[in-house]
Symmetry: C2
Subunit: 245 residues, 2 copies
């Protein structure tokens, strides 16, 4: 893990890093030392590790909870090179949707393919972050919706260090098996009028989660219109399950 | 409105009252004077105005938010006389369910009948409470699940003074019309494995609410197993919409 920059604003230190060519960002309270909970964030499709809403969420978790927060670019996003294999598949899928094919199964298969790469990548990142003095072997949370849910479900299912997760804006197609293997507390977001994820698919993914402690929050509005009070709720959810930094 | 007793414990004053023969309870912060938000609570079936969970919730809203909280006995419950008409109907419904009839439509019709009595009763109680110096014409909230939802939906729909409501554990049958007339913010509770309210009926009632600001919280478990953190959430929901006392 090689740090390439360090900046600070309003009490939050941001360090950019690369790990085996993987670009990432780590946010921590200014002057932090010692073990603290870590929240990994998966960004949405077309976004990247420092997209405005990722940054806002990271700042909030750092300042409200004293956590370390990290995000890495998904293949083909942010500072990562274009990946021709994914590009070809995405182009083909867009053509299929334009020709009238149902979108959800295509997205599910695409994200399952990408997850085969990101699950081991994120586990390696987690290994390296927990070696840092200002992170350490504390409890780990995961936050990811939409693409961050599609990649997050298999990650949380595979990674026993993750002790609580906020997921959502994703459906059960192709993910029910991994979801059933998740047993940690989950706060799950559904947008009631989601134009990308059919309502029933989102409810089915919540239903498929193996966790006994899971809570569904559904709000009116489109895919991108999760209300701001859900970030307040995520803060309290993580504090309940990871404690404070 | 005639007050019949006043007691105080741990900072909360409880006054029992009767109004036109209707028995009720009012909880306020010790020594309260002046206008403050008021939360009316509808109790569950077979419960009453001072059932343990009603009391616990009332204490919490008073101590956390500085609110006034009030509850009255539903006809045939608590300190009210038995009502032969309701008793006969309840007995007949139990026999019908035992004979294999679907429970939900019978409950819906029964609660619609009771609501014809409770909606005007609760409005009269609200009139009288707002005359009190320590309540006054502040914003009003409503909290009620199960029977408290069945009676609460028509009440909230009819009463413009109610500015926010926590509802849930009830279905859409016979209530979709009233639900559509509700336009204030609603936090709506669904128990994912509710043995009394089919999941689809609860989701349909949330869907039917006319409010643009509504949020669904669903949790695993049976009808009576709403997790304790939902009371924390209700506190924040009311603070967001009614302010603090």
């Amino acid at each position: 893990m090689r740090f390439t920059s360090e900046t600070s604003s309003d009490g939050v230190t941001e360090q950019l890093f690369t790990l085996d060519g993987l670009p990432g960002a780590l946010w921590t309270p200014d002057g932090a030392t010692g073990t603290r909970p870590l929240v990994l964030m998966g960004h949405g499709g077309g976004q990247h590790k420092r997209a405005p809403d990722v940054l806002a969420r990271a700042r909030r978790f750092v300042t409200a909870c004293g956590y370390a927060v990290a995000a890495v670019d998904v293949p083909g996003h942010g500072d990562r090179p274009k990946d021709e294999r994914y590009d070809r598949l995405a182009t083909r899928n867009r053509a299929r949707v334009a020709a009238g094919k149902e979108r959800a199964p295509l997205v599910a298969r695409f994200q399952a393919l990408v997850a085969r790469q990101t699950v081991p990548e994120w586990r390696t990142v987690l290994d390296a972050l927990q070696e840092l003095d200002l992170v350490g072997p504390g409890p780990v949370g995961y936050w990811g919706v939409s693409l961050g849910c599609g990649l997050g479900v298999p990650f949380v299912a595979a990674e026993p260090r993750v002790r609580a997760a906020v997921l959502g804006l994703g459906g059960a197609l192709g993910r029910a098996g991994a979801a059933a293997r998740i047993t940690v507390p989950v706060e799950f977001l559904v947008q009631w009028d989601d134009e990308r994820v059919p309502r029933g698919h989102g409810l089915a993914l919540f239903d498929a989660l193996g966790s006994t402690d899971k809570t569904l929050h559904a709000n009116p509005g489109a895919h991108g219109e999760v209300p701001p009070f859900e970030l307040d709720s995520a803060v309290r959810f993580f504090e309940r399950h990871l404690g404070r930094g």
